[in-house]
Amino acid sequence: MSLTDYRVLAGPEGYLPPAAATQGITLPEKGGALVEGKVVLGTYAMEQIAEKLLNAKNPVFFPGPLLLWAWKEGVAEKAKALKEMAEAAGAKIIPMPDYRPKYPMINPDIEINPNHPNLTIWHNKIDVCVFAGVHCHYANVALKIIRGGTDCYTIALCGEAGHEDAMISLRDVGLSELQQLTEIIKQKKEGAK
């Protein structure tokens, strides 16, 4: 298999799946997005996200620290927009409050931790999840573990350059992108009725 034949698909991929970036998957330029390892237009990726969320049995949003605390201007608005999106998608919300290996253990009912995100996904039988507001390094650490050990379909709404290790990844996501995606979800939901 040549490197570029690699696809970022829902797992469980195996004992220790590789970082997608080392398999020839590259991040998109501005305006682009990744769907299962292929660079596509951001708008197309949003459509795919909406499909995945609306067809999920138990979709869950994982807001990270960057969206849990009102630490700088604009966060409250983004948090509100993310919550609206989750509601539109009929998804639950489980926070990732921090990144430390927590002692003695997390409560997988109510929180997710990047060092062992699989525990929360298994425990709650989550089939589609959305990362938002998680620092990129920790998102990537978690996304690989999820792909390795679970069958959960991962979506990353990234404010920076995006994530090869998610099945669908947007980049440069700000308030307007969050609202745009929510609109697409709502429209698709209406259309399905």
Binding site: W69, W71, A76, A79, K80, P95, P97, P101, P104, I110
Partner: protein
């Protein structure tokens, strides 16, 4: 810090785990809490994997409770027993390589002064005896020689605990330990004495049997480090696991040491004394 970083966004506040709700509602941030208030506020470290009766865990708990401004405190640690509880601290904490804590703290402190010239960011080194007195001794001393404005706290359990009970430079002479199969051949490294002549403006030797004194020393040390110079607090934190005493005897062991070779002592320069008076 601004209180914004401990202000949950409205949408998700109800979803935070209880410990965060408690930290927000009754944590030590922006309120003057101290050792004497323990039990009345949400501490920045609670659950930890230290052994039962661990003196280090107690030392770390007391030091954490005594931080004068946890909302602007950054703790630098090093590998060893001391970081088990600290890894759970509700402030910024880092360890990088064994023994390099005072050098890391030097770089961090200077840059926080550059980034926040009008504010005090308290950089506190909180590590064990091996990290300070053995592998990191030169880095500790040079940070003092350079007059870095950081506080160094040693939780002295007189042994390498995390690696399984080996002799450290701070072990008592004659003690039989791993790597000292016929007993340690030289006395404790006199870090406290060295601190007095190496640039520290304030140094205290104390044990966990005197928690109020620990609290006072840590608080003074951090306040003095803001403007006057480097400070040092050496806390005896006995280790039941490796020094082989029952875990309910930790305080007794520390108290006995206080009467013997670990008597309370405070060193303070006139300039530091003046500063403390003014700041009270």
């Amino acid at each position: 810090m601004s209180n914004k970083i401990i202000t949950p966004v409205e949408e998700f506040a109800h979803l935070l785990p209880q410990e965060y709700k408690d930290l927000v509602a009754k944590g030590p941030f922006f309120e003057s809490k101290g050792v004497e208030d323990l039990g009345t506020f949400k501490e920045i470290i609670e659950e930890h994997p230290h052994c039962a009766g661990c003196g280090v865990a107690l030392g770390v708990r007391l030091a954490s409770a005594a931080l004068p401004a946890p909302e602007d405190t950054l703790i630098i640690g090093t590998p060893g027993c001391s970081f088990f509880g600290l890894a759970q601290t509700a402030v910024n904490y880092a360890t990088s390589a064994f023994g390099n804590q005072n050098a890391v703290a030097s770089g961090l402190k200077r840059m926080l002064q550059v980034r926040y010239p009008d504010r005090h960011k308290d950089v506190v080194v909180l590590v064990g005896d091996g990290g300070i007195a053995d592998i990191g001794l030169d880095l500790t001393l040079h940070s003092w020689f350079r007059r870095e404005k950081i506080t160094t706290i040693m939780v002295d359990n007189e042994v390498y605990g995390n690696t399984g009970g080996q002799e450290s430079g701070m072990s008592s002479q004659g003690k039989i330990l791993n790597m000292a199969p016929t007993g340690k051949k030289f006395p404790k490294v006199p870090v406290f004495e060295i601190a007095k002549i190496s640039g520290c403006v304030y140094a205290v030797r104390v044990t966990v049997a005197s928690p109020r004194k620990v609290g006072q020393a840590v608080r003074n040390a951090i306040i003095l480090a803001r403007e006057v110079g480097p400070t040092y607090v050496q806390i005896y934190t006995p280790c039941p696991t490796n020094l082989k005493f029952p875990p309910d005897q930790t305080i007794k062991v520390a108290r006995d040491a206080e009467k013997d070779y670990y008597a309370y002592e405070e060193f303070i320069t006139p300039e530091a004394e003046e500063y403390l008076k003014k700041s009270r």
